[in-house]
């Protein structure tokens, strides 16, 4: 959905381009910290916040 709304791409959904980018981002932001900042909001996207 993000791909379509933000980039207007409609790729095959099976290799999730967004997931790949987010997981990299998550590795840089959240890895080796106790409290994750990048949260997945099911069905709509992602959120950056202290609140879980």
């Amino acid at each position: 959905m993000l791909l379509e709304e933000v980039w207007d791409y409609r790729f095959d959904p099976h290799t999730s381009l967004i997931d790949t980018h987010i997981s990299r981002l998550r590795k840089k932001i959240d890895e080796s910290f106790d409290k994750p900042l990048l949260h997945t909001v099911r069905g709509s996207g992602y959120r950056l916040s202290v609140e879980p």
Binding site: R10, F11, L17, T20, H21
Partner: protein, 444 residues
């Protein structure tokens, strides 16, 4: 076309030519008739003037003798007679008595079953000069003109009728090829084509256009058939799985987490169905040329670098290395950016999915004089040459088990994209691996 009669056309042409010919011939006939009458009258009037002058100079009696002489020496169409003031014939022919003479001037009389044109001329010295012209000569000439005009007319009509018949047959024969092809198409044989005689005439042109149209129709029909067949196959399984997931999620004994997991599964299957639909719509739009109004000048070099950045993580996660090669200067093309990105994205996805661990993937932009090439090459196992034509078809996937996820529409979109831009998609051997070229012609 069956039952079309060539003779109708022939008759129309022959009729038109016949009318034109008849009008022309009637003109010739009337002109000749008028000319011969003028000519004969000129002869009569020259003789009249001569004899009137003769009488004036030499007297009526000498003139009468001269007339007798001329009648004796000449046996032409003309006869002469002279009467004195008392109505007494004093020279020339005895055809008419004084009492039977017509009024002065020209008139036509029948004397002893022969038609004469008679010129009666009173003279200054008294008396009457009579000039008879036997009309038999004139009528013989008349008949000669009439018969030759008629013969010409008949011969011309015969020639025109034959030519028209031949032309009509030719037209019907040439048009029939197109008609037969159309009939066969109507009967369901989509491979029927109009014959091209190689005469480079308007019929060949027509047949060529019709054939181009038929080829396009066949292509569309085949595409449509493939899509409907494949749709029923490829949408049924994810939809069935979706229903299964939802059914299981409705189980009352299920824990909240397990239910959520099942709903998430269902959502994933929904996404797959939606993506397949979107892809099919994109192909349809590109193939019908509907997206053509969205074409705009764009910089391919920037687009390629952008795509490389976007896809690098995907390629890396597949254990592969992505190399992007694009000129630093802008490469401008009037194109459909969305579908170009989608086509290249599909090719990169395919590389990530099928080239295998450790493969190298190259995305490159090669601008040229006549065409611009967008290339995605990998060093994976490649596609066997006999399968290369097949993989670009919709829903075709080479792993028969369909163990890997995918809709089978990726390359079909790339092909449609190439077609939309007037180019083509080529699959080549990369020694080793697969090299996919999206070749876009540079428009003038």
């Amino acid at each position: 076309m069956k039952g079309a009669r060539p003779s109708v056309l022939a008759l129309v042409v022959a009729g038109a030519v016949a009318v034109a010919l008849a009008l022309g011939m009637a003109g010739v006939y009337l002109t000749a008739d008028r000319l011969i009458e003028q000519r004969q009258r000129l002869v009569a009037e020259t003789a009249r003037d001569y004899f009137v002058a003769f009488a004036h100079e030499e007297g009526l009696a000498s003139m009468a003798r001269a007339l007798d002489n001329r009648a004796h020496n000449e046996h032409g169409a003309f006869d002469y007679a002279v009467f004195d003031n008392d109505g007494q014939r004093i020279g020339g022919t005895t055809l008419l008595a004084a009492a039977d003479l017509p009024e002065p001037g020209y008139s036509i009389r029948t004397v002893a079953d022969t038609d004469y044109e008679i010129l009666v001329q009173p003279m200054s010295v008294g008396g009457m000069l009579i000039i008879y012209e036997n009309l038999a000569d004139r009528r013989a000439f008349h008949r000669a003109i009439l018969s030759s005009v008629g013969a010409t007319l008949v011969a011309s009509l015969a020639i025109v009728a034959l030519a028209a018949l031949w032309l009509g047959r030719l037209l019907v024969r040439r048009a029939e090829g197109v008609a037969v092809a159309a009939d066969r198409i109507a009967a369901g044989d989509l491979s029927a084509r109009a014959p091209i005689a190689g005469a480079k005439d308007v019929f060949d042109e027509l047949a060529g256009s019709v054939n181009a149209m038929l080829a396009r129709i066949e292509e569309l029909m085949t595409g449509m058939r493939t899509v409907t067949d494949s749709l029923s196959h490829d949408l049924r399984s994810p939809l069935t799985r979706l229903r299964g997931s939802l059914n299981r999620a409705l189980d009352e004994d299920l824990s909240g987490d397990a239910r959520l997991a099942l709903i998430a599964e269902a959502q994933g299957q929904c996404e797959q169905v939606l993506a397949t639909f979107s892809a099919l719509l994109d192909i349809a739009r590109a193939e019908t040329g509907l997206s053509r109004d969205l074409m705009a000048p764009l910089d391919l070099a920037e687009m390629v670098r952008d795509l490389g950045e976007l896809f690098e993580p995907v390629i890396e996660d597949a254990g592969q290395v992505l190399t992007v090669q694009a000129p630093d200067t802008p490469v401008t093309l009037v194109g459909h950016e969305l579908i170009l990105r989608q086509a290249l994205g599909n090719l990169l996805h395919n590389a990530a999915r099928y080239a295998g661990d450790g493969a190298g993937v190259v995305l490159s932009l090669e601008p040229g004089e006549t065409e611009i090439r967008l290339v995605v090459a990998d060093s994976g196992p490649g596609v066997p040459s006999d399968q290369r034509g097949r993989v670009v078809e919709r829903f075709v996937r080479l792993d028969e088990t369909r163990s890997k996820a995918g809709s089978g529409l990726g390359l079909a979109i790339a092909v449609a994209c190439a077609k939309l831009h007037g180019g083509r998609l080529d699959l080549e051997d990369n020694h080793p691996g697969l090299r996919v070229l999206l070749r876009l012609p540079v428009s003038a």
